[in-house]
């Protein structure tokens, strides 16, 4: 079992090999697209049936869930943690702060696949959907990130 910080490559490899339908959201996704922002955490939005699969995949890395899969589905989110923190959303639909309903299935359908580590693809939402996920909360950093994503959108992502 690992103690302490999880190696990013191991994390992404474990998620990929597990077959979890996982979207990387949050600032790591922004960084992959080209936004120079900082974060300590990992944020995933997974298919509602895949919490068990994800937990099993990350258990060898020492990441422990704070809720059972049933509880996680009821609350819509949970955390896997040791010294690394992985926030996981497990809701089918999440409302934005201004009432728009964002469905996991739709975001998954429009996903983009990028290599997080050479040979290991990770699914992230398209830019429009990332902006929508940044409206799930109304934090200062979300507002800032939305503005940066809009600049990226104007510029183009390649």
């Amino acid at each position: 079992m690992h103690a302490g910080l999880v190696e990013e490559e191991e994390l992404f490899r474990a998620v990929q090999r597990s077959g979890t339908r996982a979207l990387l959201i949050g600032r790591r996704a922004l960084i992959m697209l080209g936004l120079p922002v900082a974060t300590f955490d990992y944020d995933f939005w997974i298919h509602i049936d895949d919490a068990e699969r994800l937990n099993q995949a990350l258990e060898p890395l020492g990441l422990v869930p704070n809720r059972s899969p049933e509880e996680a589905r009821r609350f819509g989110r949970y955390v896997l943690e040791n010294d690394t923190r992985v926030d996981v959303m497990v809701a089918r639909v999440v409302p934005t702060v201004d009432g728009q309903r964002v469905a996991w299935e739709d975001v998954w359908e429009r996903r983009v696949s990028l290599e997080a580590v050479p040979g290991i693809p990770v699914a992230i939402p398209c830019v429009d959907d990332l902006i929508a996920t940044k409206r799930f909360g109304a934090r200062a950093k979300d507002a800032n990130d939305i503005q940066l994503l809009q600049v990226l959108q104007k510029r183009g992502t390649s």
Binding site: L5, E8, R28, I31, M32, L33, G34, L35, P36, V37, A38, T39, F40, D83, V97, D98, L114, E115, A116, V117, P118, R135, G137, A138, R139, A140, K141, D142, A143, N144, I146, Q147, L148, Q150, V151, L152, R155
Partner: protein, 75 residues
């Protein structure tokens, strides 16, 4: 490993995190995201993005950079 002078302290990190993660009143949040950046702000953001994408052309390189930057920061 020796501590570099230019790394943020635990207090710096906590202060920035608190400011960044604070929930805003809905009206304030919507006003922020619906107010376009000034030309100057947008040019500065674009310049940073262009630098980052030029310096780190692939998503994997960008993640690796971010990882290196934060690896030794206090949590």
């Amino acid at each position: 490993m020796s501590e570099r002078q230019d790394w943020p302290t635990a207090e710096d990190i906590a202060r920035v995190r608190e400011a960044a993660e604070r929930p805003l009143p809905l009206e304030e949040f919507l006003a922020w995201i619906n107010t376009p950046m000034s030309e100057e702000e947008e040019a500065e953001a674009l310049s940073l993005i262009n630098w980052f994408m030029r310096r780190y052309p692939t998503p994997a390189e960008r993640l690796a950079y971010a990882r290196r930057m934060t690896r030794h920061w206090p949590r």
